[in-house]
Symmetry: C2
Subunit: 125 residues, 2 copies
DNA sequence: CATGGATATGCATAAGAAAACATATCGTTA
DNA sequence: TAACGATATGTTTTCTTATGCATATCCATG
């Protein structure tokens, strides 16, 4: 055993969250909404996406409204009625936003894991 | 105006949190405890640090206990009694842990800000 | 050896977020 | 044109987590 920390280091798991707020502190985009937007696009439906992620429709609807309220234009194209009851997909802007965050998130995943590895090594030696 | 996003981009602020958990999901170290540990060392007292950060002593005490319970050795050297009532400072292990997290956090601050800048630029062009 | 002020810790309460519940609306299709 | 299923949104309940409160303990110093 090198340092007192040694025996515990393997049991430490890193987590992180990134999110964006407007100047009043309202949450605009974070991991939760990001995943939700992606899944909505995949499923073609808010309800289906909520069911899969285990979120309540009510909450999701409110959260997504915040983003659109902030930007002032829709990120989602929602349709009501029809045989399927309705459907939802990303607007072109929604797609752009998600794609940008995809990239950002992928980059950060990489550097943060690397930084964490260094952190653990520091405590080890 | 280049894209629909343009007028809002200046009002978006990035936030992030990093924290570590043990395998049962108990929070070990994160921004809150990290800042608290640093301030305790600076002030030489848990109470003084809590007052400055606006945290309740009760909560802080409980949070710090979790870390020490996880590691199984003290990160703080606490002293009760005396003219000053008591005092607290970091143990050598506490200092090591804080120093390692300092470095980690500084590195991440840099890359995340850089990544965020790129994210905004992506939406701008 | 009495005092003061910080540490130590249980417990009761309040605040805030999420879940649950309830209903209305919409519009395509059978 | 009746019905179905998803979107839309207000209201209530639940739960987690922080806060507040109370009280005990400790011990260098005057």
């Amino acid at each position: 055993m090198q340092t007192k920390f040694e025996s515990k280091l393997d049991h430490i798991r890193l987590h992180y969250k990134m999110w964006m707020e407007d100047s009043s502190g309202t949450g605009i985009l974070g991991d939760g909404k990001w995943k939700m937007l992606k899944l909505i696009e995949e499923k073609g439906s808010m309800k289906a996406a909520c069911d899969e992620l285990g979120y309540t429709y009510r909450r999701t609807w409110g959260n997504l409204k915040k983003i659109e309220d902030f930007f002032g234009f829709p990120l989602l194209e929602k349709h009501r009625g029809g045989a399927e009851g309705g459907s939802t997909q990303l607007s072109p802007e929604g797609k752009r936003l998600v794609a940008a965050f995809d990239r950002f998130h992928a980059d950060m995943d990489m550097v943060i894991q690397k930084g964490f590895f260094t952190f653990i090594q520091t405590l080890r030696s």
